[in-house]
């Protein structure tokens, strides 16, 4: 496991923050961490990179305790409120961070990264004169400087234009291809849907859903069948396979545990000689899932 947390808690004077977080992130996956504003996403990331001291629980990152020097050399982090020394030029910022990482002869790596994030041509300008999006691009380059095994990106596209967003998505896919682990904080669900393997959803400081993105979406989807009048015993028969069966007028709504149960359902309906006109999987999008889960919890702030 690249990240493992055990009841990790960080609260500010007993309020806010994140509470009892139990997560494990595997090597090579892109992990999406979602939640509404003020849910505790940034708090968790800052705790994992050692900026905040946990108020409870424990965690291991790259097999080491939080803030361990040996792990820090293999971690990249793009903060949410990125700011870089504004008296330096972009190039100087990169050199400074390369020195902090103790990278020998970083010149080539730096120019590659500046190219990658689309800043080449601007590297001689003072950071003070960078636009917000340019600063975020610089932050991304800094995060990738040490060719890290684990990258934390806290809303990496918040200031980027549409093209920049696509580029970041490609960078993340590329990292995954190279076997790197990415921890992505975001509330841009479409973005998460496109790149993440697994997600956790946090609301009011607590995790309310966690798992494989496909499974999560599947669990929250249902099979609908348009049928004629149901044969006797059909519902009972279906209930043996499905998790939940509901009949309203001529529509059967069936929740199944796994994809492989769908043909079985079809078979049962057909064999019962109930006329079957239509059978389809009604999926939910991540957005619907997210809104349902978060609405269930309500409120923006987790002032508990």
């Amino acid at each position: 496991m690249v990240i493992e947390t055990f009841n990790l808690t960080k609260q500010y004077d007993g309020k806010g923050g994140c509470v009892d977080i139990n997560l494990s992130v595997k090597e090579g996956e892109v992990f999406g961490f979602l939640g509404p504003n003020g849910a505790g996403k940034s708090t968790l990331v800052k705790t994992l990179v050692g900026l905040l001291r946990p108020t409870g629980g424990s965690a291991r990152v790259l097999g080491r305790p939080l803030g361990d020097i040996r792990a820090m050399g293999k971690i990249g982090y793009l903060p949410e409120n990125f700011r870089y020394h504004d008296w330096m030029t972009g190039l100087e910022v990169m050199r400074f961070h390369a020195e902090l990482y103790k990278i020998p002869r970083p010149a080539k790596r730096i120019s590659e990264l500046l190219e990658l994030v689309g800043l080449s041509g601007h590297e001689k300008k003072k950071v003070a004169g960078y636009s917000k999006g340019m600063q975020q691009r610089l932050g991304l380059a800094v995060a990738l400087l040490a060719d890290p095994e684990l990258v934390f990106l806290d809303e990496p596209t918040s200031a980027l234009d549409p093209v920049g967003r696509i580029e970041v998505r490609e960078i993340i896919r590329d990292l995954k291809k190279k076997g790197k682990t990415v921890f992505l904080n975001s509330h841009l669900l479409s973005e998460v849907e496109m790149v993440c393997d697994r997600v956790a959803i946090i609301n009011r400081g607590r995790i309310i859903a966690c798992g494989d993105l496909k499974d999560l979406l599947f669990e929250n989807s249902a099979l609908t069948a348009k049928i004629g009048s149901p044969a006797e015993g059909l519902i009972e028969e279906l209930k043996k396979i499905a998790l939940q069966v509901k009949l309203r007028e001529d529509i059967l709504t069936i929740k199944v545990a796994k994809r492989d149960d769908i043909p079985l359902i079809a078979k049962v309906i057909v064999q019962s000689e109930t006329p079957l006109y239509e059978l389809k999987m009604e999926g939910v999008s991540l957005e619907e899932l997210f809104v349902n889960l978060v609405r269930g919890g309500e409120a923006l702030d987790n002032g508990d």
């Binding site: 800052k46 990179v49 050692g50 900026l51 905040l52 001291r53 020097i69 040996r70 820090m72 050399g73 971690i75 982090y77 903060p79 409120n81 990125f82 700011r83 870089y84 020394h85 008296w87 400074f96 961070h97 020195e99 902090l100 990482y101 103790k102 932050g139 800094v142």
Partner: protein, 280 residues
């Protein structure tokens, strides 16, 4: 840590305040030079008792020079850690394979180096002006060397205090705290001198002297300044400097020097500790 030292040193050049201080320095040295030139020309040239007058001019020059250095220290270090935390720059720095105490010490050595160079410039500037404009004082090499070391030690003590403040509280808070402590030390120094002068007259003034000692314990900068005076202006056991508010008087003991050294190390330790424990 070397990286932090290097970039802290570089960063100082990008602060507008530094140029303001340099300007202040030039104005000060010009005025001071003009003042002593006029004064030394007006003095009769024979009387050997004049030695103490020259010493007095030098010590007054150094006194105000140390105030300018203290000003430089406060403006360049009160925000050394806190301003970077407040602006968010620190977030990206501290997630590197670097211990937080290295950042604190890096700031100390980076700013300390700059301030020391500046102190040396002022120290030798004042001595040079006096020599060039006719002060008939003779310093041995060891007097100047030790005097210069003591002179540049003063701002380093203040710097360690500023960094502790900066590690714990806001830039403004750290600045105010450092200025207040430094002010205590100055006023405490005067009180102690007044007490000393009174006690020379045969009356007891232990209250004043104790107040001065307490101030020196809170911030030993003024004690080091007086030690520097006694190093510079005594030879063969005779102390040339006359007693006044700014200098002369009782020479701080060796224990005071040891205390000042411990004080500085302790402040740096507390700065590192506070910075390690805090949330960024």
């Amino acid at each position: 840590m070397i990286t932090v030292i290097k970039y802290t040193f570089k960063e100082m050049f990008h602060k507008k305040a530094l140029f303001f201080v340099l300007l202040l320095t030039l104005v000060y040295l010009t005025l001071y030079g003009f003042g002593i030139k006029e004064a030394y020309e007006a003095l009769p040239r024979v009387n050997t008792a004049l030695l103490s007058i020259y010493s007095e001019f030098i010590t007054v020059g150094l006194y105000f020079a140390s105030l300018i250095v203290a000003f430089l220290v406060v403006i360049s270090s009160a925000g050394a850690l806190s301003a970077d935390v407040e602006s968010g720059v620190m977030q990206a720095v501290l997630v590197k394979p670097i211990k937080r105490y290295e950042v604190v010490l890096g700031k100390f050595f980076g700013i300390g180096l700059m301030v020391s160079l500046y102190s040396l410039f002022l120290f030798f500037g004042i001595i040079f002006l006096n020599k060039a404009l006719g002060a008939r004082v003779v310093f041995s090499f060891s007097q100047v060397f030790n005097g210069a070391l003591l002179f540049l030690w003063i701002p380093l003590i203040l710097l360690s205090v500023c960094l502790w403040g900066s590690a714990r509280i806001s830039t403004l808070g750290a600045g105010i705290m450092a200025v207040m402590l430094y002010g205590f030390a100055l006023i405490g120094g005067w009180l102690e001198q007044i007490g000393y002068l009174i006690s020379l007259g045969g009356r007891s003034a232990t209250g004043l002297i104790n107040a001065g000692i307490i101030a020196s314990l809170l911030m030993p900068t003024d004690a080091i300044y007086r030690k520097m005076n006694s190093v510079l202006f005594s030879s063969n056991g005779i102390y040339f400097l006359r007693n006044n508010l700014l200098g002369g008087g009782a020479e701080p003991s060796l224990y005071m020097l040891l205390y000042a050294a411990t004080y500085m190390v302790f402040m740096l330790h507390m700065a590192s500790r506070s910075f390690t424990l805090r949330d960024i």
